[in-house]
């Protein structure tokens, strides 16, 4: 009982101080700088920069495609995690390390490769063409690359939880007469909720900021396939730093609100799981 207060790292206040210091330098300070820069605009200027019809279309596209990609990653990612944890098969370690590739590959390369695969003459695109599916230079193309860049996040958050999960509780559930679906939905899934939600949030956030890969496959047509980060680059091209950061501020605020609500959802599901 005496060593309840012993912690691995010495000094709570010291470690907390470090944490806050690093967070401020690495994250908080740049964000404050963004807000200050955007604050150099008057309110009408700010509004004119961030709330044009074109900008609204871009926000909708950015958040819509990111959401779609995050949902796909949620399903696909948890499936991959399940297979990697539960089934030993030859080449599993190779596939396991393959999952991290999207993090290491420069996303511009990913975008270029996807675009050349999915254009009408590409290896995959030529099979989609007869069905009238245009994968490159469309919203579908954007979702495809976002699924690519977001994949590791769901897999890597769900995987460790699944590894910890005891198969015996499944057996117990089965021996108590539960169907496979009941076991899945009432025993396995609730244990996974927090990890699923975290993975989803990470993949979603990653997609909102993604620029490098998307510009190569989206075609960047205003009102159709122009994502919000493109607008930022366009304003920088005019050396309009204020307007560029204003759009960034809007993206930040929306993302932050979404992430906070997802976090709340996660802690709520944690409480209900236990």
């Amino acid at each position: 009982m005496a060593n309840v207060n012993r912690r691995v790292l010495p000094g709570f206040s010291l470690t907390l101080g470090y944490t806050l210091f690093y967070l401020s330098i690495l994250v908080l300070l740049p964000i404050i700088a963004v807000f200050l820069k955007a604050g150099s605009l008057s309110f009408p200027q700010f509004w004119a920069a961030v709330w044009t019809e074109r900008a609204r279309a871009a926000y909708l596209l950015t958040f819509g495609t990111s959401l779609a990609a995050a949902v796909i990653n949620l399903l696909l990612g948890s499936l991959i995690a399940w297979v990697l944890v539960r089934y030993p098969f030859p080449g599993r370690r190779f596939i396991d390390s393959l999952v991290d590739m999207p993090l290491a590959l420069p996303t511009a390369v990913g975008g270029l490769v996807y675009a050349s695969l999915y254009v009408k003459t590409g290896w995959i695109g030529r099979w989609l063409e007869p069905f009238g599916i245009q994968a490159a230079y469309s919203r579908l193309g954007i979702v495809l690359v976002l699924v690519f860049v977001g994949l590791p996040f769901v897999v890597r958050t769900v995987q460790p939880v699944l590894e910890e999960f005891d198969p015996e509780s499944e057996e117990a559930s089965a021996s108590l007469g539960a169907t496979r679906w009941q076991t899945f939905s009432q025993v396995i899934l609730p244990a996974l909720y927090p990890a699923l939600i975290t993975g989803f949030a990470l993949a979603f956030a990653r997609s909102i900021g993604e620029y490098g890969s998307v510009v190569f496959i989206s075609g960047n047509m205003p009102f159709k396939t122009e994502i919000a980060p493109i607008l930022i680059v366009a304003r920088l091209e005019e050396f309009a730093y204020g307007e560029a950061t204003a759009i960034a501020v809007v993206l930040l605020v929306i993302s932050f609100t979404l992430l906070v609500s997802i976090n709340l959802l996660e802690s709520w599901s944690r409480r209900h799981a236990s």
Binding site: G122, A136, N220, F223, I230, A234, F239, E243
Partner: protein, 353 residues
């Protein structure tokens, strides 16, 4: 112990990484001046930085070497010209934010001017070197597929039914807006009104299936992915693309096109602080010599020395090249009216069109 060995390896690695990361923090740690002030004797070694845009890599590499040789011969000082390449406007932003460029050789005056506005380049820079500070120029030409199957000869052919045009986004790319200006000039300088020009560019951009964010992207789209019938490109880049394509592409010269003006300038604020003014000025002046102009022509840029240009006349067809001042007050004004927020380009795209 195994663990302690692992730990010390880790520390060693971290130390090495730290040393490597910090090695470029001290400016020119290895170079000329270990003692700071006693400057009178000319330094034996000088390093200058030329901040340029993307496709000029080969050009400046050749010029840098030739200049270094010449300069060493004349003054006994060993000069190393370092190069930095990237998108023209991001390069300009880097210089504004503190990249210590001695000279800038960017794609358009808009970018150079943005640096000048921060006070790093003195007013009147345009007239401090010959030919409005232009050692070379270029223009916008058409790249088409072998045999020119769509029969594209001039700007008006670009809006014929079934013709697809590849050009980068004028909002995010210098090549993009230069192509736009060129298209605009092809109307207003051949008797068209402003309305005609608006109508023409509106129609033209309906023929653009993909707006890549930069010129590189456009080239990939056109040459590798085989999308589109015509690509609008700088002459020098078109020539390189042609060489790469091994006969799959051709160049078509329209009757009229814009004179692309990649100005050069000494960055006064930086050279005065670093004490590199003499070398930087000599470097830019060198680009006007016959020797340098030949290198320029060999890299498919149009030399501004009339004599050298004449010698290579076969390489550079004499089409009507118009100056930006024929369609606007200057390039900044053209950009503001046509590309900038609320400009003509913005009116082309309507929601759900």
């Amino acid at each position: 112990m195994k663990r302690s060995r692992f730990l010390s390896l880790l520390l060693l690695g971290a130390g090495g990484l730290g040393a490597w990361l910090s090695s470029d923090l001290l400016p020119n740690a290895s170079a000329a001046d270990p003692a700071p002030k006693p400057a009178p004797a000319p330094p034996k070694e000088v390093e200058i930085l030329n901040v340029s845009y993307d496709p000029t890599r080969e050009l400046w590499k050749a010029l840098d070497e030739k200049f270094a040789a010449k300069y060493a011969q004349k003054t006994g000082t060993k000069v190393t010209v370092k190069q930095s390449h990237g998108g023209s406007s991001s390069q300009a932003r880097a210089v504004i934010d503190g990249l210590e460029a001695d000279v800038v050789t960017l794609a358009t005056a808009i970018d150079t001017d943005a640096i000048a506005k921060k006070g790093l380049i003195k007013d009147g820079w345009l007239d401090r070197l010959p030919n409005h500070s232009l050692p070379y120029t270029s223009t916008v030409v058409f790249v088409v597929r072998k045999g020119n199957p769509k029969g594209v000869k001039d700007w008006r052919d670009l809006i014929k039914p079934g013709v697809e045009v590849i050009t980068p986004n004028p909002k995010t790319s210098g090549n993009g807006y230069l192509s736009f200006f060129s298209a605009w000039g092809s109307v207003v300088l051949r008797g068209g009104s402003r309305d005609d020009a608006v109508k023409y560019v509106t129609e033209l951009y309906k023929h653009v299936p993909v707006l890549d964010s930069g010129a590189r992207g456009s080239t990939t789209t056109f040459a590798q992915k085989q999308i589109g019938d015509v690509q609008l490109a700088w002459e020098n880049e078109a020539r390189l693309e042609l060489k790469e394509s091994k006969g799959a592409l051709e160049i078509v010269y329209p009757e009229i096109s814009i004179r692309a003006e990649p100005h050069v300038a000494v960055v006064d604020g930086n050279v005065d602080r670093k004490g590199t003014r003499a070398v930087a000025e000599a470097f830019l002046k060198y680009t006007y010599t016959d020797e340098a102009q030949e290198v320029i022509a060999a890299n498919f840029y149009r030399p501004t020395n009339e004599g050298v240009l004449k010698k290579h006349a076969a390489d550079f067809p004499a089409i009507r090249l118009f100056n930006i001042t024929e369609i606007a007050k200057d390039i900044l004004d053209a950009h503001k009216q046509l590309i900038g927020d609320g400009g003509v380009f913005d009116s082309i795209y309507k929601p759900k069109s």
